[in-house]
Symmetry: C2
């Protein structure tokens, strides 16, 4: 069995580009751990940060761990906070932004056909 660890122990990858700001991602559980059916990633969005607005043929299952933010889906921004759950179906346009001073930390799961990060 894989060692239990705190997500902060995993080396983050900073996202760079003109469509993303202040976002770091970590693969918490993935294929390298023997997880064949889905991959758990953890994202930290800093103050003023946002993920790119995009869509793709795989779904997301999202759980918000800390902070306050908004998720763009169905053409509008929807508030989320620690404890919020979001299902983004395949091909749905989406984006997440931090609206508070705290880091917005969320768990985001994808199926095996998706890139892990």
């Amino acid at each position: 069995m894989k060692a239990i660890r705190h997500y902060s122990e995993i080396t983050p990858t900073d996202y760079k580009g003109d469509k993303v700001r202040n976002v770091a991602g970590r693969v918490a559980i993935g294929k390298a751990d023997g997880a064949a059916n889905f991959c758990m990633r953890i994202f930290e969005v800093g103050e003023g940060g946002y993920t790119p607005r995009h869509y793709h043929p795989w779904e997301h299952e999202i759980f918000v761990h800390t902070g306050h933010g908004e998720v763009f889906c169905d053409g509008k921004w929807n508030p989320v906070q620690a404890g919020s759950v979001v299902f983004v179906p395949p091909d749905a346009e989406h984006q997440i932004r931090n609206t508070g001073p705290q880091p917005l930390v969320f768990v985001c799961l994808v199926p095996p056909a998706a890139p892990e990060l």
Copy 2:
């Protein structure tokens, strides 16, 4: 797209039996939402509570949202807290218990062959 909601808005199911204590589970994202590849459940383990010690042919991907507890795996108890990540492979014996005064809340994902709750 499914409405975004806080997990506490979902009706919990209390677990009953002599091998489980003070555990409530919720299906946050499942087949009824169109999630075909994996199911997100959220468990609350109250003070002094524990899940049953068991094993089954499907894996768990676990993220601890709040509280302090221990996960039994590899034949011993391992401490976890908010932010901990645990991968329980198929057929591995496991159990989770709350060791603090706060609710131990964790997200636990399973593949589609597993019961949702």
